[in-house]
Symmetry: C2
């Protein structure tokens, strides 16, 4: 992707963005404030900038006169960057305070890294998909050599490929004779490799046979069964390529947004069956879309891996999920044996087996195991904190020697739940925010750059951090009083800040953030932070011992690291220690499709990771109470944040509690 | 069983029979001729005997006057022996020639021996059924110990019974949580043992879980899938007991009597499905009868083994059987992987797996492998000939070092096929025969001792041997000419001997044996004998090297060893070298239910036995031609028979060719 350098005047701030990026987003990333209150739709007309040098693509908007246009004035929200630029923010659009550290790492899905990459697997000789195809030319039978068709085939596989200890699937036996003759004794055998090649006794499974040479067609599917969305990828097992990706809302969503409400529904008459059918139908829908899109016939899919949290896994398998919810939270199972996809209702060939990631505990599921696998933390010496943020934030701490994990009941704040104008990260959700610390006017960006409808999780973090940094918010989460702005006011739920006036919204009402919202966020981030602290306490370590923080989950992609540190959601560590892996669950599922050997690593992760029940942990409550502050009651835990905030305190009269 | 000694006068022949035996049968076994031409129904009135001493149970028949009765005269066919007896055969009933050697071993199902017995397995520590039940009391979960239900159960199994490497069946996982709670954490786990305990990597499979202690209820089924009949046995896996046995005609029989006609039917549209459904329905019928009879609930059956010939096995599995029939006779498969009984349509629990005996070749099937297992020949040093007689006579020669096998297309003569008055061994079939060498009058016995309807396979052997011994038949199978009897005559198919006059039969026609019938028998026995010869030739051995002959198959139970030697069907070896094992297929199937370790022996037998296609073998045809004689063209192969026959030759003017 071509990169564009933008120089913002008069702050002399530079940022590098991909060609085609929106200029308002680029400014937001650079930490350059431009007033913008319509989310980027172009209707407020406040984000005027002057293009001093370079090429942009920009609509001639009605908010600009022809004279403005001739002077190089553009609306930032309607401008795409084409070449390196010099931009001046005119006085009326600008703030004179650089809010965000330039060193903030880039976010956004294109920077997602994976610690275990296909290229690495190839180099390490570990690119060994669980399913391989072998073409063989078999000597036809004669009266002096009339062993059974099966023996004949196995004999050839042994001779040509040196494969021993073969087992054959009954479904393959069923068609063996006719396929051998149809292919005139030249056939392609699909084999499932044993997961542990070190153990010679493990059997190689013959799972399919086709006439002729079909070795070129060998595909698999990786699926992440999320509570909200289900992701699927179509993979080429011959070369490690991701051919396509598809996402659908989990059809269970109509019966409850979180796992608890799904479990409750599943306890009703036929509820369990219903939940299973819904998730299976969503997966089937994704499969059919992927196949259609890529014109891959169904019978060429030879494997499927799935990862999901413990509840999703149980509901998908049609297992009773109630004990996940009831104390002492024991899931029926962690590990499932290999099952036929067909048996689970998945629309794939008779021969396709399912690999399902094991769950560690009721609230640390296969999605986390998959994420840990993808992150590679289990095979590094570095002490790592792995975080997957959602309604339940799951955390794993450890390295190649040991790992502990826990689930933090963060509540739904990160998904926009329990927030007055909270919403999912869909079109119209405010996802980014800056505030002019003098005028207290906001700069907001919405998903899809349309008029705002509400606030999503990442937006919430950015808003609270922005309010903190502008010294509008006290450390206890209350608005500072006596500021000269009509944006801070007494609302129905107490004090609130107006993010967008009714006229600039899609909902026709003012969009606000209230002290109650902020309190919910504090409790959510407090639970997460208390989780890290408690796991570290358990092994006698501290935050400073952490050498790496890996953030997984779709939400992570949109999280602003520094602002998450600012509010106390992430530990105050140098930014280079943070890494995103995106959808870790999908990543792990994909890796298994490309390297059968990693199944052993899954087992390792599963058996090495100790789950700690935070609700029963005596330290957790203390850590939680201590974390109910912005960023934290203990200054020493957030030295960099306090340094930034206190310097502003001096400048702006911000008072620490 | 109480034994009764009978002394026959005036021949001073003694025989020991079980109490309650029929006197005519006892005489037949003793080789004492009593004229009897109605098969034992009592209507010809010719079998009069005098009870000199001892107690009998005998009907007052209309063929006897009160005076006769007072003199101790009884009809032998209507008399049961109660105590030791002295019997005189009156002149009108008797023949003065002792036909059969007294040393002839007993036949009949009560003498069936098995080389591998349950008692031996117990002594050898090999009584280890593939399925065991383990009762465990599990600690209920708490907040500090809330591992999954599955882990909790496995942990307890490890701790209490030291069982490692456990795998669990998905069907068991499905009910795990509810059963654990229903049993208040006290449950019985049904486990499937790995077949090879020497390989520690092999997994022990958890296949079922029940609340409470149900260890007392652990049953299995052994099934022999015969072409004609299907046998089932209900077995108690806790103590090795056979609880019940059931037999039904294979419902496929309506579509053809032999495997070839079944294969042809299976090639028709939906024929394969039909054949499968029929055999499965017969098996299900047997299962339901066995369970009902013994009041064992279906869910207590935990295992089933089946053995059948290659065609029966393929049709049962729903596999294409046509290649078994077409040259070069390659069956689709030999070995099948473990399959769920349910998947095959067998009415048993979800958790029940099937063990099917592997076939060695298209015409040496799992029934033979099971028989060889049951015979124990594969683990003895003795050079053994194993014979299973039927339409296809299968033979195995070898010992613990090596084995070869072959199928002889004997044709249907042993089952009464291709014989003018041939029939199955059912009620009214002539099964035993003697002839008075002076009067040429017959003594016939029928199955069920009713008026004769026809001749069964064992009867045919006995008739031909009897005719030979009485010098009525030449060695080339032609009747001697010029004998003074109206029983030998020119019939529609050439010369024939009248076994029963029309009035004494159920069919209202004379029942005869023709030279064509005899020719068919000669070809059938010739094929068998040529088979033994050819297999021995292959390894450079001769008949005299044979140390043991094991006869399997239901037919074997009714075979008279010496007379089978007389006609040249069995090799001329001392009688003590012959052993019966009855239904070897059922025996082998049963043994596997009681000793999982024997699965390894099955594998050994399977991989060690070399099949030889006789139809392609250059020696076979020579051996066959040489054997088309009574007993054989080579006198040296049947010294004892020639000695017996030639001594009579001197007495009676019999001329050797």
């Amino acid at each position: 992707m071509e990169e564009i350098k933008i120089h913002f005047n008069p702050d002399h701030v530079e940022v590098v963005v991909p060609k085609g990026e929106n200029l308002l987003r680029a400014a937001m990333r650079a930490g350059v404030h431009i007033n913008a209150s319509c989310g980027g739709e172009g209707v407020c007309g406040k984000c005027r900038v002057i293009i001093d040098k370079g090429e942009v693509e920009s609509e001639q908007t009605e908010k600009l006169t022809p004279e403005d246009h001739a002077l190089g004035i553009r609306q930032a929200c309607k401008t795409k960057v084409i070449s390196d630029l010099e931009i001046t923010i005119p006085i009326e659009s600008r703030m004179d305070y650089k809010v965000i550290d330039k060193e903030r790492p880039k976010t956004g899905s294109w920077q997602v890294i994976s610690e275990i990459k296909i290229e690495d697997l190839i180099v390490e000789g570990k690119f060994q998909p669980p399913i391989e195809k072998k073409y063989i030319e078999i000597d036809p039978p004669t009266m002096v050599d009339n062993v059974s068709d099966l023996t004949r085939m196995i004999r050839t596989l042994k001779k040509v490929y040196g494969i021993h200890n073969l087992m054959i699937d009954f479904n393959t036996i069923k068609k063996l004779s006719s396929v051998l003759r149809q292919g005139e004794w030249n056939v392609t055998v699909t084999i499932g490799n044993p997961s542990n090649p070190l153990k010679k006794e493990r059997r190689t499974q013959i799972i399919n046979i086709e006439p002729g040479d079909t070795t070129g067609n060998n595909y698999a599917l990786a699926v992440d069964i999320g509570t909200t969305t289900i992701w699927g990828q179509l993979l080429n097992l011959n070369n490690g390529e991701i051919l396509a990706q598809q996402v659908e809302y989990n059809a269970q969503i109509s019966y409850g947004e979180d796992v608890i409400s799904r479990i409750i529904y599943a306890q009703k008459t036929e509820g369990q069956e219903k939940m299973k059918d819904l998730v299976v139908s969503t997966i089937n829908k994704i499969i059919h879309q992927l196949l259609k899109k890529n014109q891959v016939p169904l019978e060429d899919i030879n494997f499927i891996t799935l990862a999901g949290n413990t509840t999703m896994t149980h509901l998908f398998l049609g297992l009773e999920a109630r004990y996940i919810r009831e104390t002492p939270y024991t899931p029926p199972m962690n590990y499932v044996p290999p099952i036929r996809a067909k048996e689970l209702g998945i629309d794939l060939g008779e021969h396709v087996q399912v690999f399902l990631f094991p769950s560690i505990a009721s609230y640390v599921g296969g999605d986390i195991v998959a994420g840990v696998l993808g992150s590679g933390m289990y095979r590094q010496n570095k002490l790592t904190l792995f975080i997957d943020l959602g309604t339940n934030g799951e955390i794993v701490i450890g390295n190649s020697d040991w790992m502990t994990c826990a689930a933090c009941s963060a509540g739904p704040a990160f998904e926009g739940g329990g927030i007055k104008h909270g919403m999912r990260a869909s079109k119209g959700a405010i996802e980014d925010f800056n505030i002019n610390p003098e005028t207290f006017e906001p700069m907001i960006l919405t998903v899809g750059m349309v008029k705002p409808k509400g606030i999503c999780g990442s937006g919430l973090i950015n808003i609270v951090a922005g309010l903190m940094e502008a010294c509008v918010l006290e450390q206890n989460g209350k608005f500072k009083t006596g500021l000269k702005t009509d944006r801070i006011r007494e609302g129905a739920d107490g004090m609130e800040y107006v993010l967008a006036w009714a006229a600039n919204t899609q909902i026709g009402r003012d969009i606000v953030i209230t002290e109650v919202d902020i309190d919910n966020l504090i409790r959510a981030k407090g639970a997460m932070y208390a989780g890290y602290m408690t796991l570290l306490n358990e092994v006698g370590l501290t935050m400073n011992d952490l050498e790496q923080v890996i953030i997984a989950g779709g939400f992570g992609n949109y999280m602003n690291i520094e602002r998450s540190i600012t509010i106390g959601l992430l530990p105050d560590l140098p930014l280079e220690k943070f890494k995103f892996i995106g959808n870790g669950s999908l990543l792990g599922a994909r890796l298994i499709c490309f390297s059968n050997l990693l199944k052993l690593d899954v087992k390792k992760i599963f058996s090495k990771t100790t789950n700690i029940e935070l609700s029963e942990n005596t330290h957790f409550m203390d850590n939680y109470i201590a974390a109910l502050f912005l960023p934290h009651t203990d200054k020493n835990l957030f030295p960099r944040v306090y340094e930034r905030v206190s310097c502003r305190e001096r400048n702006l009269g911000y008072k620490s509690n």
